[in-house]
Symmetry: C2
Subunit: 131 residues, 2 copies
Amino acid sequence: MRIVPIGYVRSTATAGMDCRELESVVEVLPEFEEGLYTIERERELVILYVFDRSEGRALKVHPRGDPSTPLRGVFATRSPDRPNRIGMTTVELIRREGRLLHVKGLDAMDGSPVIDIKPLIRPDQRPISQK
Amino acid sequence: MRIVPIGYVRSTATAGMDCRELESVVEVLPEFEEGLYTIERERELVILYVFDRSEGRALKVHPRGDPSTPLRGVFATRSPDRPNRIGMTTVELIRREGRLLHVKGLDAMDGSPVIDIKPLIRPDQRPISQK
């Protein structure tokens, strides 16, 4: 299956940084801007992006890359060295400026391709099956 | 970018069903089973899968396919008719049985390709930047 970038991350995040308070920008490509219509009503979004600098594809990893922590299966962690290398972070939407989403809490590096944006759904508002 | 299935959904979900209490199975492919190591310690998982029966790629949609609801940008909704057609659902892990994960609350149809499994991270435990 092929996926395409719908935008890119603009960020000053560096490796190992605590990004909970960091503000960064999700720049959506012009051809997808219409998909942002009314998104400014949302307070929290889930950003799916690609760990494009990850080279590994390990199935067992040390959480947070710390060799002193016991190995776990990659699907029990958020390690970037995973099959399909998709990262997922819940962020606060600060404001929308055209096709720029100013967000807080995104732990993705500058230039990371964004592949989807979704509204956060809390456990008590889970959706019904959609297809 | 190319993505590959790491497993498939086994479910009795039908279109429009309320799946919050539904039990289904995520069957991980043998070559990725090692990635499940210790996952049974997690109580909640996020399943990323492909809306493989979605044909549309709309940028504005009626939420829940209901034409009486006002149009919204697709990124402000969970519509399957989206660029990259990736679905995301938080589920409860009931038990692991080898490479079968018995889960509750998955709103994906039978046979949907699964592309990632992640532990749920609550807002107060957001991770630091990983690359």
